[in-house]
Subunit: 203 residues, 2 copies
């Protein structure tokens, strides 16, 4: 059975990473896609685990061959999700999470219309601001910018298949896990795209 491609997006500070950390141990056969990047590895980052670290020439060559499901340039560095990386896992029957923003999601939907997409919302802007401030890592200007970006991103929420509101970590995690499980009940197809659970399956 082929794996499913799952796009997951959330405005900064929504708690996406916390939710994902909570559900990953309960779900078998689910991995994150490893992105390509042209930036240098940071301390502790491993080649092929955190990122595929490649030269700009290699990145652009792969991009020009249409080798990326989605790519973007951020602060002078390139980031992208390679088609091969994703396809290989899907063909092994593994579900693949793509943790990408709304621009990336638009590109992936075009290249892979079967992908399901999930948007995680903050419960309110006040709460979102409180969370961003509570981190204590960003200046008021950065927080204001992140909030403005988050509000702009929310305009795209209707293009996502599923919306999870993170008003409570446990409920949001339960909901995200439910979406993954339901997706598996929906897409019961073998590697040739034929539906499973047919009389022929039964002897």
């Amino acid at each position: 059975m082929k794996g499913n491609l799952i796009i997951i997006s959330a405005p900064s500070g929504t708690g996406k990473t916390t939710i994902l950390k909570k559900i990953m141990p309960h779900l078998q056969g689910l991995t994150f896609s490893v992105s390509h990047t042209t930036r240098a590895p940071r301390s502790g980052e491993e080649q092929g685990k955190d990122y595929y670290f490649v030269s700009q020439d290699a990145f652009l060559a792969l991009r020009d061959q249409g080798g990326f499901l989605e790519w973007a340039e951020v602060h002078g560095y390139y980031y992208g999700t390679s088609k091969k990386e994703v396809t290989d896992r899907l063909n092994q029957g593994i579900d693949v999470f793509l943790d990408i923003d709304i621009q990336g999601a638009r590109q992936v939907r075009k290249a892979a219309p079967d992908a399901i997409s999930i948007f995680i919302c903050p419960p309110s802007w006040q709460e979102q601001e409180k969370r961003l401030t509570g981190r204590g890592t960003d200046s008021p200007e950065t927080i204001a910018l992140r909030l403005a970006n988050a509000k702009a991103e929310m305009a795209d929420v209707n293009t996502y298949d599923y919306v999870v509101i993170n008003d409570d970590l446990d409920s949001a995690a339960r909901m995200l896990e439910a979406i993954i499980l339901a997706m598996r009940a929906k897409n019961r197809r073998n590697l040739n795209g034929e539906p499973l659970c047919l009389p022929t399956e039964y002897s």
Copy 2:
């Protein structure tokens, strides 16, 4: 927010009732539709709770007005799901389960294309036969007939949105619950059909 209409079908002996009993206590805002029938109440059955018990004239009049989402005649009695019964609950934001067979499901899909449908499969025919025999309530002829019917019903499995295989009660219940929760994350619309979780929701 409007409720969701959920069709649930399973060949006889698949364990549908047991699964439903297991998940109902965990899910708020979910009820079974109460059917209309022309058969007489059995001992302990309550009007409006187990069925709406009506005369054949009343049933046929309602049917001829297009008042049923689906109806069928079984052993000389009529059974049907009234549109009003379902619509009233959906408009109160309550999700409604329709426990119906594949013929009923076909009728409902035509009348209510938004309905989601779930088919519960036995893990195998051998196991299905074992379960039907294990009940100790049916003759070998009845069991053979039920099995033949179940095999015929399986041909329709591809018209359902979701397929849950009851190879293990706990996993099947977890999967069914997941489908309901995911459906709620998918259809986040208000009573006017407008998507929820939009920037305007946030103050």
